[in-house]
């Protein structure tokens, strides 16, 4: 799977016209200067040769060196990772909380106006372009109310409160676009579970409604929700590109987009490999959680 991703990056390199020499040389570089830059960086060699040497280096754990950023690809990606992980992680938490709540409310008050209202609210997030929503939040909370900063990043290790303040708006924006999926999934799996015998039995035995919902129904409904969360994690990583641009965050998404625009190929390859690895990792975790949560899978062991 990661191999497919790395192959895709070579397809991109082969597709995309122009190379980094334009960025280094500027508008009025002479053809000789451009040739010199290309030789220096080894991008005058055929793609196949570059691919072979790239995979060779990869086996030794070397992702190469950025043409433009003056650091190794590993460093370039690692220094950005906290930003994107903060963003995607916090967004995932927010989306899960808001989505599950909306979903539970909708399921419990099935076919009421609360049900319809929650589902429309969930849909609104899916129906608004995130960049636009982000800018509106900036103006509202950053300028008009002045509660939160308009953009930028503070590492969590330096200042926790600052980190929360700086991450709230971007994470909220990103979460807003994803909570709808989780809300709908929660609703439908909750409806399934609420209808099942053991829940009815529990209620018949006189257990309180809230207890039933949270102890029995939600626990069982978690299985499909966790699956959705796994898929969402991947979406959040690529959605981060837009949010990072709007909120001026130095994340991996902007690193990769910028590298495509500037043709900094080693960073594109390394960056994509790392994000794809995270995606794979998250899905492995999801599979494990799935096994742990689903009584059927658990009992088989």
């Amino acid at each position: 799977m990661l191999f497919v991703v790395s192959l895709m990056t070579f397809v991109i390199m082969w597709l995309v016209p122009g190379d980094v020499s334009a960025e280094i040389g500027g508008t009025d570089a002479t053809p000789e200067q451009i040739q010199q830059i290309r030789e220096q960086l080894g991008i005058d060699k055929p793609l196949l040769e570059r691919a072979v040497s790239w995979y060779g280096n990869l086996l030794r754990g070397d992702l190469g060196h950025s043409y433009l950023l003056n650091r190794s690809v590993v460093d370039a990606v690692l220094e950005r990772l906290p930003v994107t992980l903060s963003l995607a992680g916090l967004a995932l938490v927010l989306a899960t909380i808001m989505g599950t709540l909306l979903g539970i409310v909708a399921a419990v008050r099935h076919n009421s106006w609360l049900d319809q209202g929650s589902m429309v609210a969930a849909l609104v997030g899916l129906s608004i372009p995130d960049f636009w929503f982000g800018l509106v939040l900036i103006i509202l909370f950053g300028v008009t109310l002045g509660w939160l900063p308009t953009g930028g990043f503070v590492p969590i290790t330096e200042d926790f409160i600052g980190w929360v303040r700086y991450m709230t708006l971007p994470a909220l924006t990103l979460a807003f676009t994803q909570m709808g999926v989780i809300a709908r999934m929660t609703r439908s799996s909750m409806l399934d579970v609420l209808d099942q015998d053991f829940v009815r039995t529990a209620r018949a035995k006189g257990m309180r409604r809230g207890t039933v919902i949270f102890k029995h129904a939600l626990r069982n409904a978690l299985v499909p929700i966790v699956t959705v969360v796994g898929v969402t994690a991947g979406v959040l990583l690529s959605g981060a590109v837009v949010i990072e641009t709007v909120f001026s965050l130095p994340g991996v998404g902007r690193l990769i987009v910028g590298s495509i625009q500037r043709r900094d190929f080693p960073v594109i390859q390394g960056g994509l490999l790392v994000t794809a690895s995270i995606f794979v990792f998250v899905n492995i975790v999801v599979d494990m959680l799935y096994g742990w949560l689903d009584p059927r899978v658990r009992d088989e062991r």
């Binding site: 799977m1 990661l2 191999f3 497919v4 991703v5 895709m8 991109i12 597709l15 995309v16 016209p17 122009g18 099935h110 076919n111 589902m119 429309v120 849909l123 609104v124 899916l126 129906s127 608004i128 372009p129 995130d130 960049f131 636009w132 800018l135 509106v136 103006i139 709908r184 439908s188 409806l191 399934d192 209808d195 991947g234 990583l237 690529s238 959605g239 590109v241 837009v242 641009t245 998404g253 990769i256 987009v257 495509i260 625009q261 994509l272 994000t275 794809a276 995606f279 794979v280």
Partner: protein, 302 residues
């Protein structure tokens, strides 16, 4: 009568029985659709929007690409109901024409992912040795952020509607293929498919008549959602500068253009934004309705 003839007869009667069952189901399905509230609302919304898009040249009050330096960034008024943009172009006319482009992109992507998803999903579930390989490749594609693919494609081919369509199709096909594969795997084990195999129906026949026929419902639901997501994705691609190129309007590129003036000229981004929201809402309601009806578990609750 020989045993063989008996078998054939049995096959025939089985087939005709199934055909009539399908007809009955189709009728019932149509009736339920018409009665399902969210499907009806969603379908009405989409129908209205589709009609507006189709009759754009008659409905738009102005040429959507006509610049007018004297009327730059005018607010909504009786002359320009939705105001004008930074080029002095009428937003209402641009939204009407933009709806055309956005719906077209969404529809084409939905149909293409439907086709490729079906081919890949069926191949994976039907041809055992292909399954692992194909699924790993599709997982790889899923791990590859679609936005980045779009940016790369746009640099390679130049931005165009075609680029947007290709990038979105590549991005959403894996998920559709998974849906089809799952549906086919369920159907494959069912008795009537086993029966058809037993009576010696050819692979092509089994795939087209029995398996796909039954994978169709989840596929259509999935396509509705792809349609909706594509409309939003088009806007995001426009934001990143790789959407449908100027001067032709799409809902996404109007919003992307207007984002710089959110505080000075809110109307540039808000009106096309509302139309996108309504369109996506309509498609989702349609999809939800379809799923409710198709999925018997949900049906029982209604």
């Amino acid at each position: 009568m020989s045993a063989e003839a008996l078998d054939i007869d049995a096959g025939k009667s089985l087939r005709s029985e199934m055909a009539s069952a399908r007809r009955r189901r189709t009728l019932k399905f149509a009736r339920e659709l018409a009665l399902h509230p969210s499907f009806t609302i969603g379908a009405t919304i989409i129908l209205v929007l589709a009609l507006i898009a189709a009759f754009a040249p008659w409905l738009a009050p102005y040429d959507p690409n006509k610049n007018n330096y004297r009327d730059v960034l005018m607010g909504p008024s009786s002359t320009f109901w939705f105001g004008t943009d930074g080029f002095g172009r009428d937003i209402l006319s641009r939204v009407i024409y933009g709806l055309r482009v956005s719906l077209m992109i969404g529809l084409v992507v939905a149909v293409l992912t439907g086709i490729f998803g079906t081919i890949l999903g069926t191949a994976a579930s039907y041809v055992k040795w292909l399954d692992g390989l194909l699924m790993r490749m599709l997982d790889g594609l899923m791990a590859f952020p679609g936005v980045l693919l779009a940016i790369a494609l746009a640099s390679a081919l130049g931005p165009s509607e075609m680029t947007v369509i290709i990038a979105l199709t590549v991005t959403y096909t894996p998920r559709t293929a998974r849906v089809v594969r799952a549906a086919v795997l369920v159907v494959q084990g069912m008795q009537y498919v086993e029966a058809a195999k037993a009576v010696g129906a050819g692979h092509a026949r089994i795939i087209f008549r029995y398996i796909l026929g039954n994978a169709l419902s989840p596929l259509i639901v999935q396509m509705t959602f792809v349609f909706a997501v594509s409309i939003i994705a088009e806007a995001i691609m426009s934001f990143l500068g790789v959407g449908p190129p100027p001067p032709a309007p799409s809902l996404g590129n109007i919003i992307a253009d207007g984002r710089t003036y959110i505080q000075e000229a809110w109307w540039v981004a808000v009106f096309p934004g509302l139309v996108i929201a309504v369109a996506v809402l309509g498609l989702n309601l349609m999809g939800d309705g379809l799923r409710d009806i198709i999925d018997p578990r949900h049906r029982s609750e209604r």
